[in-house]
Structures are given as structure tokens and as C-alpha cells.
């Protein structure tokens, strides 16, 4: 459970986010404008702030800069703008993560948990590498080794592997992967996940017919298998 502050000017979205996150066990407070959000962020000391960039009184990036001047609270920016310049601008201003609208409640919750984990990791002086069998993934240096040898992965391949390694043995659906790794809506004909899985398999030295780590569960999704010791 975490105490969250939602800064969002659209009543419907603010209400829906508050309801969805409350159902997932978080404690919510909310603000409809930048200044009010700043006041609540400073006074209420939330664990995390969800900040919309399109606010009526202040530009969201300005709110973020002002907040960063007084607080190190983790901030996830939520915005309709997904162009590179907007993403870079928000991250440079101090955002910890970036969620493009429209987002699903589950995706938002997953990102909140990830940012909170990272924030807790910072407090503990760093989150350690994740190890599954001979596969080691270090989220800080974004390096992967397989049986001691470095594996060169593209950014999305790394994110995909990191997502699967965070849930070893669990089946993850393609819909979940597309939403949480790519922030894309699912379409029945979408093969983005499959083609990246094929690349990942190739780089991990396995094939779909003879998988070692990446097991396809037909009709459901994919699972990172934990090899027997």
C-alpha cells in the first residue's frame, strides 16, 4: 500500500484513476490544478505523485521543476504527448517515469510499483541484479550475462527480458507485455511481441522449438522458465 497523489485536471480521468488505484490498495489524494498539487505534494508527503502535464494553471513540467526544488518524491508523468521531445523534457525536469495516455489501470499500477521499488532500492543503496539460472540481468547498468558471457540486447529486448525475469515461472500474456513494455494497445494481429521474443531467443542461444528460458504457452503468452538446478 502506498500513499499516492494524483494531479490531473480532467475530472473523469482523475476520478477513474483514484477509484482504480484505491481498488488496488493504495491511499489516494488528488488535485485538479498545478498549484494545489504542489501544496499537497509538499504538505501531504505522498510516496509517489502522478502528474499530468496539461494542467490549467501551470505547465506540468514547471510544476515538476518546482516540486523537485523542494522534494525528492518519485513522480510519474501522465500525458497525451508521446513525442520524443516531450518525453525528454519531462524526464530532464526530474520525472521518474512516463506513462502515455490512454493507460490501463493495471499498467499504471505496475509502473507505480516499479518506481516505488526503484525508490526503495535507492534508499537501500541500489537494487541488485536479477538472476534466473545462468541468466543475470542488472537493471542499473542494463547489462545481461548468460553463463558469464555478455549478451548484447536492444533496449526493448532488455525491457522485455527484465519484465519476464521479474516474474520467473509466471505466464505473462502478450497483451500485458505490449501494454507494460511497449505502452501499446493490444491488437489481435500484432506480432511485435513475437518478433522481439524471436530476437531474444536468438540472442540467448535458443529456438522456439528448443527453448531454454523463453517458453511459449500457446494461446496464452510466454513464461520465463527457471531451469532445474
Amino acid at each position: 500500500m502506498a500513499q499516492l497523489l494524483v494531479v490531473e485536471d480532467d475530472d473523469r480521468i482523475r476520478g477513474a484513476v483514484v477509484r482504480a488505484l484505491r481498488e488496488r490498495g493504495h491511499v489516494l489524494s488528488s488535485a485538479a490544478a498545478g498549484l494545489e498539487g504542489l501544496r499537497l505534494a509538499v504538505d501531504g508527503t505522498p510516496d509517489l505523485v502522478l502528474l499530468d502535464l496539461g494542467l490549467p494553471d501551470l505547465d506540468g513540467v514547471e510544476v515538476l521543476r518546482m516540486l523537485r526544488a523542494v522534494s525528492a518524491v518519485p513522480v510519474i508523468v501522465t500525458t497525451a504527448r508521446d513525442d520524443d521531445a516531450s518525453v525528454v523534457r519531462a524526464l530532464d525536469a526530474g520525472a521518474d517515469d512516463y506513462v502515455v495516455k490512454p493507460f490501463a489501470a493495471a499498467q499504471l499500477d505496475a509502473r507505480i510499483r516499479a518506481v516505488l521499488r526503484r525508490a526503495a532500492g535507492d534508499a537501500d543503496d541500489g537494487a541488485g541484479p536479477v538472476t534466473v539460472g545462468g541468466l543475470v540481468l542488472d537493471p542499473r547498468s542494463r547489462r545481461v550475462t548468460l553463463d558469464g558471457a555478455a549478451v548484447d540486447l536492444a533496449p526493448k529486448e532488455f525491457d522485455l527480458l527484465a519484465h519476464l525475469m521479474a516474474r520467473p515461472g509466471a505466464v505473462v500474456t502478450k497483451r500485458q507485455l505490449l501494454a507494460e513494455v511497449w505502452q501499446l494497445p493490444y491488437g489481435g494481429s500484432d506480432r511485435t511481441v513475437d518478433v522481439h521474443l524471436s530476437w531474444l531467443r536468438r540472442k540467448l542461444g535458443e529456438t522456439a522449438a528448443e527453448p531454454r528460458f523463453l517458453e511459449t504457452v500457446r494461446g496464452v503468452g510466454v513464461r520465463l522458465a527457471v531451469p532445474a538446478p
Binding site: D10, R12, I13, A16, V17, R19, A20, E23, G54, A80, R81, D82, D83, S86, V100, K101, P102, F103, A104, A105, A106, L184, P185, Y186, G187, G188, S189, D190, R191, T192, D194, V195, L197, S198, W199, R201, R202, T207, A208, A209
Partner: protein
């Protein structure tokens, strides 16, 4: 331009110099001849009194003195005796008045002289051709030298002038080239003649206007994204909140499909941002890159892939990202809509009139052309992917054709890049 100006000045100078030098040369020649003949005439006048009044012996002495001084003088005495230089004696009959006789060796000045004793002696002076032309060659050489000097001077001045005129024009052309190549910051400092300065100012104004329009379009696209995605977010969150069941699943699928369509609309609105001032990429390189991207999945699914790419590049009027998205949509459709193990082929060839033709053919069950007409469709369909590919092809000046049965063949016709005539050699 510099060459043309220099050539124009060279031609003009040549005409002026010819108009001046040819009459001058003729005049020099005539003056020299006239001067020589005048000297001969003077000699005639000096000898006339002697021939008219003195005796034969005195005349002989006077003539020999003249011959000794270099004159070619002869006197045919009343009895036919020739005194002096025989070559000066006239060839033809002599009239009763003074005459001038032209011959191969020069001009003879013939003067009949009536004697006091009643007879007529003939006094003649030969002015040789070389004497009439004395100094002419040297004068002509001086005139020719002067002409060449003036010509070279004119060329030098013309080149300087041409340079000063073409430099601002060259800068204009360079700026236009940079703008054409997509450099939105390219501007020219107006310089040179007023007309060229005016063109420079107009070019800067035009570049500024294009920049403004692109910025406005970026803002419009951002606004569109905001206006579409905000209600989509509420819709998605509300759908998520519904109790699990078939109705919720259907709604989630519908929202996904709507979301993808909104993404496609926003991506389309951002096309001009991706393209900048000039859209262009090599279709062969982009297709090769996308085939490489899809190959691992094709191999995992035991699909045989036949690829045929030309050796050289085929430039098309599209941003590389847009063409890549279109090719991904087509290859993604093949992988999604045909069974594992189904072979497919990708062919890239030059298009008549420029551009490229990308053909993706598979041996699957085939799509109906209605899919293309429908454009956007629900989850699980290939409609949106084909719609993206069709819009991309049309944006390049081409189009998309769907050939149904056997299997499915999608033909993407891509137009050539806009003619960048500004890059013509100068």
C-alpha cells in the same frame, strides 16, 4: 552565370575593338602611302624648272643628284634619251598632263614638261611599294597590341563584375539547397544587386513561413493527441473497472482497437514532422532492414522467405520511419494471418517514372479486397495495418494494390522524391 557574363563582355569588346581597329589600320596604311606619294610629288616639283629650262647636261646632273639621294627618278629627253633610273620610266604612252601610273613595283608619278625649245620631256618618279608601306606594319602591330591589351583588360573587369554579381546568387542557391536538403535553419544574408537582395529577403521569409507552419502543425498534432487520448484514458479506465465477463472482454478489445486507430491518426498527423522539409529514403535499404528484423520470427515459424532486392538504391518520397512502419504492417499481416510454415516473398523493384514497387506475397488463404476498402477494422483484422500502408504509399504519390488469390499479394507503389532542381550544377 559568371561564364556567361564574361563571354558577353568578350563578344561586346571584340565588336567594339574591331569597329575601331579596322578603320584605324586602313587609315594608317593610306596615310603612309599618301606621305610617300607626296614626297615623290615634291621631287617632281623640284625638277620641273630644270627640265623645262636647262640644257641636257644640266638636267642629267640634277637627275643624277636626285638618284644619288635615293630617289628613283628618270627623264625622257625630247629626243628619247633616258636620264636617271630607267626603272622609273613609264611603261605606257605619256599624255599631255600629269598622271599617276600604278604598276607592280610601285606608283609612277609622270609629268610631261614643255621645253622652251618646243619639245616635251617626260619627268617621272617611281614611288616603290615598300616606300608607300613604310611603318605600316609597325603601326598595325601597335594597334593589335593595344587591342589585345584592351580585350584582356575588359575580360578581367568582366570577371570581377561577374564574381561580384554571382557571389550573392551563389549564396542564395546554397541556402535554397540547404533548405531543400531539410535544414530548417538555413537563411541567407541578403546581398548584391537590389533584385538579388529582394530574392534573398523573399527566400528568408518563405523559410520562416515554412518553419512557422511546421511548428503550427506540430502544435496541432499535439493538441489532437491530447483531445483524443484524454477521453480514451477515461474510457479505458472505466472499461477496466467493469466486472470480469465476456461483455467486458469485448469492450476491452473494442477500446484497444479504437486506441490503435487513434494512434494511427496521430501518427498520420505527425507525418510532416517526421518528414521535415524534404521526405526521402532508400526503399531498398529500409525494406532490407525490416526483412532482417522479421527474419528470426520467420525462422522460428519455419517460414521460407524469398527476398529480391535490386543492387542499387531506390529513393522514394517518404521518411524512413514511415516506410518501415508500412513494411512492418505488411510483414506483420503475413505473419499474423497465415499459418506457421507458410512461405512469403518480398520483392523490391524500380517503378516506371521513378520510385519503387514493394511487393509482399504470401501463400496463405488470401484476404478479400473488402479489407482494404474497409480500412480501419476491429481487433484481429489486418485492416488497420493495410490502411497504414495504403496511406503511406499514397502520401509518397503512389498507392496500394491488393491481389487476391492464390494467396495474398500486396503491391506498394512508392513515388520518387520531389525533384530537387536547386541542386543543378552551376
Amino acid at each position: 552565370m559568371r561564364r556567361q557574363i564574361t563571354l558577353l563582355v568578350a563578344a561586346t569588346t571584340s565588336v567594339v575593338l574591331l569597329a575601331f581597329l579596322v578603320p584605324a589600320a586602313t587609315l594608317v596604311s593610306r596615310v603612309a602611302a599618301s606621305r610617300a606619294l607626296d614626297a615623290g610629288q615634291q621631287q617632281v616639283q623640284v625638277l620641273i624648272p630644270s627640265v623645262a629650262l636647262a640644257g641636257l647636261d644640266d638636267v642629267r646632273v640634277a637627275v643624277e643628284v636626285a638618284v644619288a639621294s635615293g630617289r628613283r627618278v628618270a627623264v625622257v629627253w625630247t629626243d628619247g634619251t633616258v636620264l636617271g633610273d630607267p626603272s622609273a620610266v613609264p611603261d605606257g604612252p605619256v599624255g599631255s598632263t600629269a598622271a599617276q601610273e600604278e604598276s607592280a613595283d610601285g606608283t609612277r608619278l609622270v609629268q610631261p614638261v614643255g621645253r622652251a625649245d618646243g619639245g616635251t620631256a617626260t619627268l617621272s618618279v617611281l614611288v616603290p611599294e615598300e616606300e608607300q608601306r613604310a611603318g605600316v606594319t609597325r603601326s598595325w602591330a601597335v594597334l593589335a597590341g593595344l587591342g589585345v591589351l584592351l580585350f584582356l583588360l575588359a575580360l578581367l573587369l568582366a570577371d570581377r563584375l561577374a564574381r561580384s554579381m554571382t557571389r550573392p546568387v551563389r549564396r542564395l542557391a546554397d541556402t535554397a539547397d540547404r533548405l531543400g536538403a531539410g535544414d530548417r535553419d538555413a537563411r541567407v544574408e541578403p546581398a548584391g544587386p537590389p533584385e538579388v537582395r529582394a530574392v534573398g529577403t523573399a527566400l528568408n521569409r518563405l523559410a520562416g513561413r515554412i518553419d512557422e507552419l511546421l511548428t503550427a502543425e506540430r502544435e496541432t498534432a499535439a493538441d489532437l493527441a491530447h483531445r483524443l487520448r484524454t477521453p480514451m484514458t477515461a474510457l479505458r479506465l472505466d472499461t477496466d473497472a467493469l466486472p470480469p465477463g465476456p461483455a467486458r472482454d469485448r469492450l476491452v478489445d473494442d477500446v484497444d482497437a479504437l486506441d490503435r486507430t487513434v494512434d494511427a491518426v496521430i501518427a498520420e498527423a505527425r507525418r510532416s514532422q517526421r518528414e521535415g522539409l524534404v521526405a526521402g529514403c532508400d526503399a531498398v535499404a529500409v525494406v532490407a532492414d525490416r526483412i532482417a528484423f522479421w527474419t528470426p520470427l520467420a525462422e522460428d515459424e519455419d517460414r521460407s522467405v524469398t527476398v529480391s532486392l535490386p543492387a542499387g538504391p531506390l529513393p522514394v518520397r517518404l521518411a524512413a520511419d514511415d516506410l518501415a512502419a508500412a513494411v512492418d504492417a505488411l510483414l506483420g499481416n503475413v505473419v499474423a494471418h497465415t499459418g506457421v510454415g507458410t512461405a512469403f516473398a518480398v520483392l523490391v523493384e524500380a517503378r516506371t517514372g521513378g520510385g519503387a514497387v514493394v511487393t509482399v506475397a504470401d501463400e496463405g488463404p488470401g484476404l478479400t479486397t473488402a479489407v482494404l476498402d474497409r480500412g480501419v477494422s476491429g481487433a484481429g483484422s489486418s485492416g488497420l495495418g493495410l490502411d497504414i500502408a495504403r496511406r503511406t504509399a499514397e502520401a509518397s504519390g503512389g498507392g496500394l494494390r491488393l491481389v487476391d488469390a492464390p494467396g495474398t499479394t500486396v503491391v506498394l507503389e512508392l513515388g520518387p522524391p520531389a525533384d530537387q532542381g536547386l541542386s543543378a550544377p552551376r
